[in-house]
Amino acid sequence: MKKAVSLLLVSILMLTMLAACGKDSKDDPKPADTGKETTEKTTTPEETTAGGEELKGKVVFLTNRTDMVGKEYKEYKERFEEKYPGVTIEFEGILDYEKNSKIRIATGKFPDVMLIGPGIPNSDFPKYFAPLDDIQFTGDISFKTLKAFENKMYGVSSGSSTVGIVYNKKAFEKAGITAVPKTLDEFYAAAQKLKDAGIVPLASNFKDKWPLDAWIYDVPTMIGGVSDHQNKRADSDAPYTLDGVYGQSWSILRTLYEKGLLEKDVNSTNWENSKKDVAQGKFGMYLLGNWVINQVIENGAASEDVGFFPFPSDNSGTVKAPLNPDWFYAVNKDGNVAAAKAFVKWMIEESGFEDFAGLIPTLKDKESKLAQLAEFNGYNPQYIEAGPPNDTATAIANQAQIDQGRVVQEFVLSKDPQSILDKYNKLWANAKKNVVK
């Protein structure tokens, strides 16, 4: 009822407005939705066969890469439309992707191809997206089961990345480090040498929170040797313990902090500037994904001066490395499904996006062009692939409102780290009671 009234109000308003500004709207010859209408007509007949010459209509891809709009995407558009002459592809870039894409999805009308991150529970996929199992890729792809529900795949990873130590070789040379550290103790020693040479050993970018993700997701994976630790939290009333994977991982960061092996003031770090500092050797290392390598190079480092090795999370001498997906492509179930699928296939196989972004290709038998990965693989890390999330664990975390980035910050800065763990375990246990009945 309320809606009807307001809609009426709005329509009256609109008529008045349009009358008042009709002159200006001729700037925009087509109503915003023409594309969508043609779209709906073409969806049904070719639902089953992705690819083929008869694809038609407009496909809109909502991307988070605002920097590629009008540049790389322009070229993608030309190449894609040459291959599929009936399809028009539009790239729309937005910032703050998780939030703004949710607002879009909430209205029920959203672009044909979307990116999905961790924000949407897997069980909700059928409400919004089309299954993508029938896309015929030229080879096997990674992370088929991550964004899947009831044996149907709803998301295709746009690329993968591993996490390790990205370092400046010149800085290592200057500090007299001849071989990369293979154990945690060697790592501390190397960091100390960097510090003695006047170099900030590890750029944590502590303040920004997101760079701490490696300590939340990846180092625990390396320590435990399995990637399902975030899911396992659902079985426990006290998932964060000092001797557990999280406590061990965060204690390493805490040790680095206490020994002064991070930035001088971790509460005042500057991400953009840290890339320049690593490139120039003022900072020695990052613990981040391989995607950062290209950014360091863009900030002035020569490619041969940037190295990449697995992070030794313990003293065993065998190194492990996680393999993580990036954002996933998903297709709006009410959009131009067939053409959108062709676009996803094209992005994975032909666009060259993963090389531009410095990611590992999703097609398993495709070689990465990133030189540093060869060095990384030379240390023979044992790769541990990320598994699908568990909706229960996510639901508890959401209910408890635990921002793990902040937990790490508190853990490192607090005089009594155990009390921080206790605080969050209590929140967790309470939330678990509400979620699991």
Binding site: S6, L7, V10, S11, L13, M14, M17, L18, A20, C21, D24, S25, D27, D28, P31, A32, D33, L62, N64, R65, T66, D67, M68, V69, G70, K71, E90, F91, E92, G93, I94, L95, D96, N100, I103, R104, A106, T107, K109, W210, W271, E272, N273, K275, K276, A279, Q280, W291, V292, Q295, E298, N299, G300, A357
Partner: protein, 276 residues
């Protein structure tokens, strides 16, 4: 006029000088970045001066690669329509509310006052739905619809001015047989000049720099506006700050010029006109 005390004069100039320093100190970095060559930007300290303040290459590159020509075009359309409607609707509203006695005067202004308190950020989802149901997403008139609404600041400024316009003027015009409508647009509206100039400046800058609304409602690259064109220099976890700095300076120029021009109208003084 009484002569000013020297102490007051010294205080005045001293405080202005301090203010000038405090204001110019932070943006220093934007200005230096904008003039640095890529090489200088990467190798020299962020705080250092560029070697050449005549290096305008960043500016031309920023202008073209951010599609700023189109962005300025779109922004001008949005600004033009929003401001004209906003000023007309706002001043008319205030005229009606302040010149006539009727029951709902107080509550009406109160309604606008209260609306300021509603946390904006959470109403986004609902407003997006409304605009979408009108088919105005990715349409320049979508944001316009959100911008034309009068805000409390504008209402207070207009009310403040209308209150100080003597009612004798209205009465004199009525004697000559002018309609109320004519009184509004031929007497009141022109006398509101300084208020309108103030509102136009403040509104222009607010709309011009607003990023949230165009990002949500105008994601189509053809509908790029000035504030969102900046984002062409931001990737995931990375920003091309040399280009951003140049772009920011380019963006500032039209607003600064507009302010300089409008300034004269703001300070023309309401009473210098018809009253004397």
């Amino acid at each position: 006029m009484t002569k000013e005390k020297p102490l007051w004069t010294v205080t005045k100039y001293l405080s202005l000088l301090i203010a000038a320093f405090v204001i110019l100190f932070p943006p220093y970095i934007i200005v230096t970045n904008a003039f640095k060559t890529p090489d200088e930007y990467l190798t020299k300290s962020t705080m250092s001066l560029p070697s050449n303040f005549l290096n305008f290459s960043n500016f031309s590159e920023a202008f073209t690669s951010a599609d700023m020509g189109r962005a300025f075009g779109n922004t001008v359309v949005i600004l033009g329509v929003s401001l004209v409607l906003n000023v007309l609707l706002g001043s008319a509203f205030c005229y009606a509310v302040s010149r006539f006695q009727f029951k709902l005067q107080g509550p009406l202004v109160g309604l606008f006052l209260f609306a300021t308190i509603i946390p904006q950020i959470t109403t986004q989802v609902i407003n997006y739905k409304t605009i979408q149901s009108l088919d105005l997403t990715n349409h320049l008139m979508g944001p316009v619809l959100l911008y034309v609404g009068a805000d409390i600041l504008q209402i207070y400024i207009y009310l403040q001015f209308i209150r100080n316009i003597p009612y004798d003027l209205d009465e004199a015009a009525m004697m000559e047989g002018a309609s109320l409508f004519k009184i509004f647009y031929s007497i009141i509206l022109p006398l509101l000049g300084p208020a309108t100039a103030t509102i136009v400046i403040l509104k222009t800058i607010a709309i011009y720099n607003d990023m949230y609304t165009p990002f949500l409602y105008l994601s189509d690259p053809d509908k790029v506006v000035v504030s969102t064109s900046l984002m062409r220099f931001f990737g995931v976890n990375s920003g091309d700050w040399q280009m951003v700095s140049s772009a920011i300076l380019i963006i500032m120029i039209p607003t600064a010029i507009m302010y300089l021009l409008m300034q004269r109208y703001i300070f023309a003084g309401v009473t210098n006109g018809a009253v004397k």
